[in-house]
Symmetry: C2
Subunit: 271 residues, 2 copies
């Protein structure tokens, strides 16, 4: 059907439930809805966060979350990732105690939320990252990529109410992850890239979600120079993309789009 490394699994009965209800005329109907489960993440014995996820790829989700929050650095050695579906927990262990654990111990005196505490660190590292200036995407290739994504059987087409993210090379989708939380879909891709040593420099990232500051920060952290969405922008997302030299393409549907940052990487070749 397709040659992706990972593609959506609309036929997996663990990912959707069929639920009975009524339509606008009072007729009994049955609809498919995506599941949503809690997953509590630990890093070396330190509880980090409870996420709401569809539950596929908990290992990639855990690793990607930690990476995208800078709680795990690309150089850290992961010794084990243990998922326990019964108690809905996942434990990531590293060879050495990570920076983050020290930070969290100290910071929790003043802050209740790990995500809040690391935001300063995120922005710090963000300033150091240089995205490859020579990456290019043709508009004809972009149109083909959007078509390939939108015609792939997915949980979105099956059940709706889910976000999708795609890692692509040129017009070819490589990884297509879905999740009830849009940041989870991003994190699962980041975790896969880390585990399998996939570089971001020659890739394109597509999301169904909006182009917010958090989405831009995550893409830059992953070293990917081009970010595409079918949704719109926030002002801070645009500002950060311009600062980081990220190409930011939004409202991308069919052959239509708007580019608000890094337009030099987009080559108009579809005339």
């Amino acid at each position: 059907m397709n040659d992706m490394l990972i593609s959506p699994r609309p036929d997996d009965a663990r990912l959707t439930h069929r639920v009975e209800g009524l339509d606008q005329d009072g007729r009994a109907i049955e609809v498919a809805v995506p599941v949503e489960r809690p997953l509590t993440l630990y890093l070396n014995g330190q509880e980090v966060v409870t996420m709401m996820t569809i539950g596929d790829y908990p290992d990639y989700l855990a690793l990607g979350f930690l990476l995208n929050q800078n709680m795990l650095r690309p150089g850290d050695t992961v010794t084990s990732v243990d998922y326990d579906p019964e108690i809905e927990t996942i434990v990531v262990r590293t060879a050495h105690r990570t920076d983050f654990e020290e930070k969290l111990k100290k910071k929790t005196q003043t802050s209740g939320c790990a995500q809040g505490t690391v935001f300063g660190d995120l922005m710090e590292r963000f300033d150091e990252i240089r995205l490859p200036a020579d990456a290019r995407l043709g508009t004809a290739g972009l149109t083909r990529l959007l078509k390939a994504i939108n015609t792939t059987p997915s949980l979105y087409l099956e059940a709706g109410a889910i976000h999708g993210c795609v890692l692509a090379q040129g017009d070819r989708p490589l990884l297509y992850m879905e999740d009830v939380g849009r940041h989870n879909a991003v994190d699962k891709i980041a975790g896969y890239m880390f585990r399998h040593g996939i570089a971001g420099a020659d890739k394109i990232f597509y999301t169904t979600g909006r182009l917010t500051s958090e989405m831009v920060v995550k893409t830059v952290q992953m070293g990917i120079p081009i970010l595409v969405s079918r949704s719109g922008f926030t002002a801070w997302g645009v500002e950060l993309a311009r600062k980081a030299g990220l190409t930011l393409i939004g409202r991308a549907k069919g052959s239509r789009h708007i580019v608000l940052a890094g337009a030099e990487r987009l080559v108009r070749d579809d005339a």
Copy 2:
């Protein structure tokens, strides 16, 4: 124009920026994008969370967040809410030290995220809440309500990339809040209701966001018996709504919708 207590402010220059870019044909265009600012919330000297918000109504947002997380109880006396736009912080002070502060002090030993720690408490209180069984909504009124919402000038119509929530009574929207984070829009309404003593029992809640577990929990916490969305459902959202006796109406557009829980409150009167 309308008789809402609060309605969107698409003309407020503080809420959108105009940004230059290119369209698919390489033509220079200018688009409006919603702003997104960090806001760090403190409760009596304890840092709680940093939120990304459009920045209108920081006081309602702060109060609503604390209420919906059960960090503030309806009986607590709020003595002051101090917003400092320069350092992007808001401090809520109560007459007595709240339960939450003790909990957070204890819990931060094992958990990095306040939102994670209070989830158990949320579910605990959730089981005790009884929503009014006699509340009713007619399908004709629902169609009128959807039309009233969708034809109200809004940041969504102006700039997109934003979520909206509406508190309504019958077919009449009372409060229409928008925010870049959909949970912020809900929390701003909860904060307004708390500040002005508005009851939820005879109201309807509308959201542009999906009907997830978190959305259902927040609506039940607010004591509102009917939740409507133009988006779809998650399985856990449906399960929790059925457990709580909440009426859950999704994919609501024009005169179309699907009801997956509490169908007895929806009266078919549009024939």
